[in-house]
Amino acid sequence: MSFFTDSLILGIIEAAPLVLATVGFTLIFYLSGFINVAYAETITLGAYFAIVFNSMLGLNFYLAIIPSALLSGVISVGTYLVVFRPAFKRGVGSTEMIILSVGLSFFIRYSLRLIFGSHLYALDIVSPTSFRIFGIGITNIQLTALILVAVITAGLYLFIYRTNYGEMMRGLANNEDLAMVSGINPVRVSVLIWFIAGVAGGLAGLFYGVFSFVNTLLGWRLILIIIMITIVGGIGNVRGALIASIGAGIITAAVTLITKPLYGEVILLLSFIGILRLKKVRR
């Protein structure tokens, strides 16, 4: 029983940033219809912006969150306007778009390597106080992350399913021509979505930076799991992405409690391949 609750709680804590990143990734996937591998670098950038504002410029950690998240959103919009939109216009196919995004991903990652070198960076946080919930040690920063993630995810959820812009986005994703005839400006909606997705990714990276060291591979290590969760959860289905990412967090936590962390990743990836297969059979 305690194994069950332990993996549940640890899993939810671990999944918190993952949920944010997955929801952001899902938005872009839903709107633009391709796997944007360069989203990995949006996550990494979020952590590096936090390092710059917090550790280098000495801003308070909580204050540093705001500019870091906003800048990640701006860069995300930048990649859309400079790379992906022109590529769409040139008629690059959907598989080629993925390869293109891998190219962009390497370009941004190694730009960061050239600027910041290969050092491990850590955020400058006042020593966290820890307390126990259901017998599990949790720090106040983890709790803050968890609450922030819950609030932001709920906000995103309402935005997508309850607001005008959310409706426009869904219209655009389903039938672009029809959406344009109905007076929706595709560029404006796309820019907004890429910005929101970028902010979510940047925040995810920043919270990962709280729990571990930051280097340029941060986002790359996560992106495969994020892509898998998005496909398994149902493309563009924010509810599915939410459930699948919490599930992934719990599986990883459970396996990690029994054996080594890397086995968690192995089992997760293999079961995702199995789920991909099952989904195809059922279709």
């Binding site: 391709f34 796997i35 790379v83 022109p86 590529a87 040139r90 690059v92 959907s94 598989t95 080629e96 993925i98 390869i99 293109l100 891998v102 190219g103 962009l104 991903s105 390497f106 370009f107 941004i108 990652r109 190694y110 730009s111 390597r113 050239l114 790359w220 495969l224 892509i227 898998m228 496909i231 080594k260 890397l262 086995y263 990743e265 192995v266 990836l269 293999l270 995702f272 391949i273 199995g274 991909l276 297969r277 195809k280």
Partner: protein, 299 residues
């Protein structure tokens, strides 16, 4: 003479030859058949490591170990292919990438077999020819790569090659003509992936000592940029692309451009940075690569 035939130049040439083979195999999978294999390093690494384990941990003779590793890689590809090959290309892409990550993870965790991050070695050259051992190895790799390219030419002008091409263009149509497309695709995928494993075993002899870090995404990315740059639809695309990437950076620049020691560590970073930029520019402005589209001939 012996000095020229061994050492760093020979090492670089051998690497280039192995990567030409990988890029040609990727051309057969992606350019010809349309299978988006993003796990090149998984098959390459599985061949490399299982060969090392057979050879060093179990003292199996060199060529037998090579054969076993190739077959093992092919069988793993067969199992994976059976699960995923009839899914859409995005799923195939992620699943192959996932397998590559699983291979890397298991190499790190299964220390009893692979010695984990400490590294597994040393793998000797295949033939003990005294000072010409390295040259003998290089020749073996070269001959196998040339054979592969010749085979690709023969394949693509054969009815079987046209069947594979038809799967990329219009699989339902090919199936409606009575061709068992999924079966053919599966067999072809497992053979070409097995061959990626074979070239992994060859690479093990070149580097002598293997560590899990070599199984990172850099290998897959390098092979992909080489093929896309050279021309994915062309048999020689892999060759041209590999010469223009690895050939240029790891041989021409390393040998002829004087780089101060302080900056030499930056070279691999700059290399991948330029690869990334290059890949984007090619896909946007010349998606068919250096060699361009194949001319259609009247058959």
């Amino acid at each position: 003479m012996a000095q020229f035939l061994s050492g760093y130049a020979m090492y670089t040439f051998s690497s280039i030859v192995v990567f030409v083979a990988l890029a040609t195999l990727l051309h057969l999978q992606f350019g010809l058949t349309g299978i988006v294999n993003f796990g090149v390093v998984g098959f390459f690494g599985l061949g490399m490591y299982s060969f090392g384990v057979f050879l060093i941990q179990y003292n199996i003779p060199y060529l037998v170990a090579m054969l076993l590793a190739t077959v093992l890689t092919g069988v793993v590809a067969l199992g994976l292919g059976k699960l995923i090959l009839d899914l859409d290309s995005q799923s195939i892409l992620v699943a192959t990438l996932a397998i590559a990550t699983v291979v890397e993870d298991l190499v790190i965790t299964e220390k009893w077999l692979t010695k984990g991050v400490i590294g597994l070695g040393t793998v000797p050259f295949p033939f003990d020819l005294g000072p010409f051992s390295q040259a003998g190895y290089f020749l073996l790799a070269l001959v196998l790569t040339v054979l592969l390219i010749l085979y690709a030419y023969k394949l693509e002008s054969s009815p079987y090659g046209r069947l594979l091409l038809s799967m990329q263009d219009n699989e339902p149509l090919a199936r409606s003509l009575g061709k068992s497309t999924s079966r053919q695709k599966l067999i072809f995928f497992s053979i070409t992936s097995g061959l990626m494993g074979l070239f992994g075993t060859l690479h093990a002899s070149n580097i002598h000592f293997m560590v899990p870090r070599m199984l990172g995404p850099g290998v897959t990315f390098t092979v992909w940029i080489a093929l896309i740059l050279g021309g994915r639809k062309r048999i020689l695309g892999g060759l041209v692309g590999t010469l223009a990437t690895i050939g240029l950076f790891d041989f021409v620049i390393e040998t002829f451009v004087p780089i101060p020691a302080a900056q030499s560590q930056l070279l691999p970073v700059i290399k991948l940075w330029i690869y990334g930029l290059g890949l984007m520019l090619i896909l946007m402005y010349r998606p068919s690569g250096i060699l361009g589209e194949k001319k259609l001939t009247n058959r």
